[in-house]
Amino acid sequence: MNFIRIIKFDFMNIIKNPSLLFSNTIFPLILIGVMGFVTRNSFGAGEANSYDYYGVNMMIFMAMLIAMTASNAFMEETVKKGNIRIVYAPVSKIEIYLSKLISTYLFGTVSFSVLLFVEQTFFNINFGGRNIIYIILLINMLLLFGCSLGTLFCCIFKSEEGASGMLQIPVAIFTVLGGVFFNIHRLGRIVDIMCYLTPVKWVQVCAYKIIYDNDFSIYMLVLTILISCSIACIIISQIIFKPEEYV
């Protein structure tokens, strides 16, 4: 019962934070609009226009950035102060960090699901039409991985500053290799292979297969890999996290 109570409380803390609310609701729309507008002449009269392309890519990019929201929910200075008392309460170690992870994930799930639906319905961005539900689930699994990664970095670096600073490195590597802003696979075979080492690329390829080819051949595989990576992050967090260091 305490677990649910803390998740609810953390969820409310995220919603009350204007910068987190903005970066996970309005900002993705602005990003898609700007990138789509700037590159609109680079896309031919094919099936996908610049807004469709950056619609998918920016949502993947922002889903990866949820890791920052997770580290904020866990270790942001004003929140951390109060969280210290939870360590003294009859709450187990796993409930402490898992509550932050789940509250961020729930927040991300709600905001990104609504965003995807709104973008397709009102802005005509192609997320697969009726297949949008699969894209929502795919993005949600990437959100889970992002939240788990953010929580893990908090457990390792023990402060929001440290965690956020270090998180920028894997997030940048994932997004650059994943070709979120521009494709880099043309840079050679080795780079092309490296691109497939990032979950962002798998999600991107999987999403395009579903949207444009109605092809689900790698869907379950990508979901399984994302869930496995998330579980791995949670297991390492359980080993590393020491409540006394949080205090």
Binding site: R5, T78, K81, I84, S92
Partner: protein
Amino acid sequence: MDIKMNNIVTVKNLEKSYNTKKAVDGINFEVKRGEILGLLGPNGAGKSTTINILATILSADKGEITILGNNLKKDIRLIKQGIGVVPQDLAIYEEISAEKNVRFFASLYNIKGKQLEKQVKEALELVALYDKKDDKPKTFSGGMKRRLNIACAIAHNPQLIIMDEPTVGIDPQSRNHILESIKILKERGAAVIYSTHYMEEVEAISDKIIIMNEGKIIAEGTKEELNQKVNQEITYFFDVKNVNKSMNKQFYEIAGVTKAQISEDIVEITSEKSYDNINEIISVIIKNGCKIKSMNCKEASLETVFLELTGRNLRD
């Protein structure tokens, strides 16, 4: 959780090391129901380590700890249910109201409904913040935040309250209020472990005092017992007219006098307490043509006791 036994905390042979350094080295003590235990010691004495172990967030290397009749190694959740911790750093949410802070933390102890409302109100009243219940802590003064920090720790009516420097950096009015609140908690039957650097606070509220140094308990007892252990001397101060500095030698001829110091108009005589020699000291002063304007005496304070035992000042 209602236990019949009188001992709230029993610590036996507690040891804790960080790498090769022993932070706590085989300490033993007990805290009884309705008792305030003052924990004194300079930085690095092992107070915070002891407190963190009792607060269940740090595990001991060796030793046996029983809190509220439960073994610390086996029944952590039961123990957590019965203790309240006031950490040195403020552990409150600044962005939500004082009442919501207290209610949220109390609810983590499975208190619900009307009982929760009642206990939240009582906790806020105890620290005199009920009229500010709807205000956010970010608008509070340092002293008010400290009081809210205490309210959050006691709203679930814990039987053991662990306080780590709860009055650091606050105004005297808030400090007095906090000390009064602690006395009320004691009257209600709670046991309190109170760690501080402020000697006068320990003297004012503690039933029993433990002095720690380098991980060990170097003295334990009531304030009077500790004073007796080291305080064998008394110093008399005479404010006199017509000082005759040549009388200095005569004081040393009086049995028990260990030190005599004469300045412009003050005669300071230190004597062993076991000697009843005040009349002789006064007669020496009068015989030498001095006129006594006033007189007072001073026994060693707890600060002196501490210095004597550790060789260090408390705030070192």
